[in-house]
């Protein structure tokens, strides 16, 4: 697996608190091409700690690309240059000896920077709380095979449901719009029979909270799709647009 080590210059965003002014701190580092970028940060932190300096605060958990906790902007791209790859799965073999990297947090008004590379993405949870569910109580479910769902529909719903909620779509968007995230969740339920009874209430409730949480509007640049580590399609946004329009035509609730 391993080849020769490479030397990189890393400029990493440091910011003590939400109010503090941030700046780039420069690190020169020799690293193994098999290491992931987060392991490079681990190493830098280990050295900083050893020297008695404050380590770089950043979030990560599963390191398998599924929990959505990690998310750095590397040279202007959320999750770095590799398509369909979360930050934790970005290995240094994708960079060349002598490269310079700028590592920053996701930037958006809706994502407040808490410290260094950690941002507050709680807006996403608020949107989900507003309607990202099917209303029924535990214990009342019929047999799983009573609801027949074509393989194609199930696959499409899963394509949307794969969203890991990392926020890269917002970070990539020049408008900081969360429509790919919301579109994906709306679509998962809009595609499945289980989601039909609340289909139009759901989309209205979720869009309302999305708008309240300072996310921008979509202008169809599709940067979100290009940077999404799960490759969630912008077709989901179209579906949400359609459902939202239909909802406003159809329902009389949710004033």
């Amino acid at each position: 697996m391993s080849e020769k080590n490479i030397n990189l210059t890393l400029n990493i965003w440091r910011q003590e608190s939400p109010e503090a002014k941030g700046y780039f701190e420069k690190f020169e580092k020799e690293i193994s091409p098999d290491a992931s970028i987060l392991e490079v940060l681990d190493e830098i932190n280990n050295r900083l700690e050893f020297e008695g300096k404050e380590p770089i605060a950043f979030e990560s958990d599963c390191r398998e690309g599924i929990c959505g906790a990690c998310g750095l902007v590397i040279n202007g791209q959320p999750h770095g240059p590799l398509p369909k790859t979360a930050t934790c799965q970005l290995h240094m073999r994708n960079f060349k000896d002598g490269d310079t990297l700028y590592i920053e947090p996701f930037r958006a008004t809706a994502f407040k920077i808490l410290k260094d590379l950690i941002v507050d993405r709680s807006g996403f949870d608020k949107i989900q709380v507003a309607g990202g569910f099917v209303s029924f109580n535990t214990g009342s479910a019929p047999d799983g095979n009573v609801i027949l769902i074509s393989k194609e529909m199930a696959d499409q719903a899963l394509d949307a449901a794969e969203c890991i909620g990392c926020g890269a779509c917002v970070a990539a968007c020049k408008n900081s719009s969360a429509m790919l995230f919301v579109g994906a969740k709306v679509s998962q339920f809009a595609l499945l029979p289980q989601g039909q009874p609340e289909r139009y209430e759901r989309v209205q409730a979720m869009v309302k909270v999305m708008d309240e949480n300072l996310f921008g509007s979509c202008t169809n640049t599709y940067a979100c799709e290009a940077e999404c580590p799960k490759g969630i399609s912008v077709l989901n946004i179209a579906r949400m647009n359609r459902d939202y329009f239909m909802a406003k035509l159809k329902t009389g609730t949710n004033e």
């Binding site: 900083l48 700690e49 599924i66 799983g144």
Partner: protein, 636 residues
């Protein structure tokens, strides 16, 4: 002095849970809303419990150290979830799932718990489908199944390689609905640091706000711990970076017995370690073993490329030793054999890795067919290793994965502290000495959706619905202790980083309390861990303070607890003079090198009570087997 009363109901095995449900106390809806319940952990068990208890009308507060409840490590489970639906008409049944689980656990689990798990497994699938979990489907629209390690029937439900994610998001959505309705309140970025006991009952918690650093007090009439397993004690494991044992351990130190800590599962299909700086190990779903064949070169130290090694010079060691199950033997058997062949020097290039080869599958169903089934796993492998698995066989090696041991709980999932319930991987209850594939998700959801809503009522039915005041002295005292502990860690200002000590602990444990153990090694390691603990408390260096985000401080507290837990794991392994499931003692094996159980003397759950630093008292819960015959597990 603790009392182990498992509260297993009498009667026929298949009727125990039904009868018990009827016999338990129920609380009327108007009173339910007067009870506060704290849940710690928001994975499958925690989130599903929050959803269900919220539906019943209890006032629930749920805590997670993540920024969002959706990030709990259940999300990373790939393979699937078992249920005894028998949709494939292949003679599956509740009994068979029960029997497979008991046998897979090497007859070291409770019959009644395991039966209940198998019984509610079907409800879980129905529940998840109703939530809108997009399970894999057949062309006719019915739910699809696949077979999974250790089972001879096709009973595993899945959603590509992301079953855990989909199930967790399902539970998360149900919980969110309750948040919307005002029954559940979420407290993210909070770390549980201690339980507060009032008159011996769990009545609240002390949590550290990870953003402000403040120690916060929360009160309730019952506390539910769903904080997952402790496999990060090995430093390198498939667990997430933040998975830890602190909640369970601090509760243990407050009087909850810890059961079977030595039952730790090492998962056979993980990516090999690439270097010292590696931060964690990545699991590849063991469903890969359905179509992949595991082999090593017959010659030790063979450094040829796999394509240059002819068929007759390859050792398909699992197929050779276990003709009936072949590559689908249970996890512990697969892992141990990988270790053996590598210890003999037959690992790839003489190192610690074996091949997982899909050539036969490519010939049988084509590369497209394989891609259909395992595409995302193949992509993941290529991404991480930089090697294309469609061209070159995968390399795998076992990695610490799942803790069967955990806090001791009775049939109602209550620990030895009244009012303190423990769900999911954090408890010890359903998997015996080894867990079968695709049953962790099943247990987490079974505990949260279908068990705790009943048993919680039975406990609260005996309690008064009176608010607990956080200004009580017990809360203040607990808060003070936590604060002192934090200050102590911060004041050491030694020379070693937290991670470097954690790594050393990991090396000790994987070496001596890993895939195989022996008396000499265990005795040694107990002393080594004690020394390391001493080093930690005199020489660790934690930078920064406790007044804002300080991830090193968070890790330091967790490592301090791991350093105590590690010792107990070794003690438990030393006490258990037999080999069973994932616990393999070199001294106790058959002539063929198979695990040799000692049912006479060790047919019990080892529950440890904490006395003081480095001192525990052992309590034994004898296991009764009325419905299955204790057989020697054989996968030949």
């Amino acid at each position: 002095m603790i009392k182990l009363d498992s509260k297993i109901p009498g009667g026929k095995l298949s009727e125990k849970w039904m009868n018990h449900k009827f016999n338990m106390k129920v609380i009327n809806p108007a009173n339910k809303r007067k009870f506060d319940i704290i849940i710690v952990g928001s994975g499958l068990a925690g989130a599903s419990a929050a959803a269900t208890l919220g539906e019943l009308g209890y006032k629930v507060k749920i805590f997670t150290f993540h920024d969002s409840t959706r990030r709990a490590h259940s999300i990373a489970a790939q393979g699937g979830i078992n249920a005894a639906k028998n949709y494939q008409n292949d003679a599956d049944s509740v009994y068979r799932l029960f029997y497979d689980t008991i046998k897979g656990g090497d007859f070291r689990g409770r019959e009644a718990n395991t039966w209940r798990l198998a019984e509610v497994s079907n409800n879980i699938i129905d529940q998840c489908v109703a939530q809108g979990v997009p399970f894999a489907r057949e062309y006719g629209g019915t739910l699809a199944n696949r077979s999974f390690g250790g089972a001879q029937v096709s009973r595993t439900f899945y959603a590509r390689g992301e079953t855990g994610q989909q199930l967790l998001l399902g539970a998360y959505s149900s919980m969110n609905r309750q948040v919307n309705l005002g029954n559940v309140e979420i407290f993210p970025r909070r770390e549980f640091l201690d339980v507060v006991k009032v008159d011996g009952h769990a009545r609240g918690i002390i949590a550290r706000n990870l953003v402000t650093g403040e120690l916060e007090k929360y009160a309730s009439q019952a506390v539910v711990l769903a904080t997952g397993g402790y496999m990060n004690v090995y430093f390198l494991s498939t667990n997430a970076m933040n998975s830890n044992a602190t909640a369970a351990w601090r509760v243990h130190k407050k009087g909850a017995a810890f059961a079977n800590p030595c039952y730790t599962q090492i998962h056979p299909t993980c990516l090999p370690v690439h270097g010292e700086d590696q931060s964690k190990l990545v699991l590849m779903s063991e469903s890969l073993r359905n179509d992949g064949r595991i082999w090593v070169p017959k010659k030790a130290g063979d450094t040829r490329n796999p394509s240059e090694i002819p068929e007759e010079e390859r050792d398909y060691y699992l197929e050779r030793k276990y003709p009936a199950f072949g590559n689908l033997v249970p996890r512990d058997v697969a892992s141990r054999n990988a270790k053996y062949v590598c210890d003999e020097g037959k690992g790839i290039g003489g190192g610690k890795a074996v091949y997982l080869d899909f050539s036969d599958a490519f010939n049988r169903i084509g590369k497209e067919g394989v891609k259909d089934k395992y595409g995302n796993l193949f992509d993941m492998y290529a991404n991480i290793t930089g090697v294309n698995p469609y061209e070159v066989p995968m390399q795998i090696y076992p990695a610490p994965h799942y803790a069967m041991g955990g806090l001791w709980v009775d049939y109602e999932l209550m620990s030895t502290i009244p009012g303190m319930f423990v769900l999911g991987e954090a408890n010890f209850s359903d998997h015996g000495a080894n867990r079968l594939g695709a049953s962790a998700l099943m247990q987490g959801l079974s505990d949260g959706y279908f068990i705790i809503p009943y048993t919680m009522g039975n406990y609260l039915g005996t309690e008064k619905p009176e608010k607990v005041d956080v200004e009580r002295s017990e809360f203040k005292e607990a808060q003070q202790n936590v604060e002192e502990n934090i200050n102590k860690i911060l004041s050491i200002n030694g020379k070693q980083t937290v991670d470097s000590i954690h790594k050393r602990l990991g090396h000790l444990l994987i070496d001596k309390v890993g895939m195989s153990r022996d008396e000499k090694g265990l005795k040694e390691v107990i002393n080594q861990i004690r020394d390391l603990r001493e080093e930690f408390w005199t020489d660790v260096k934690v930078v920064g303070d406790a007044k804002d985000i300080n991830q090193t401080l968070e890790r330091a507290g967790r490592v301090a607890d791991f350093l105590e837990l590690g010792e107990l794991m070794a003690k438990d392994a030393l006490n258990r003079n037999e080999s069973c499931g994932a616990h393999f003692r070199e001294e106790y094996q058959t002539e063929d090198g198979e695990a040799l159980r000692n049912d006479e003397e060790y047919k019990y759950v080892a529950a440890w009570e904490y006395k003081k630093d480095g001192e525990w008292e052992l309590y034994k819960e004898d296991l009764e087997f009325e419905n299955v015959k204790l057989a020697t597990r054989s996968y030949k």
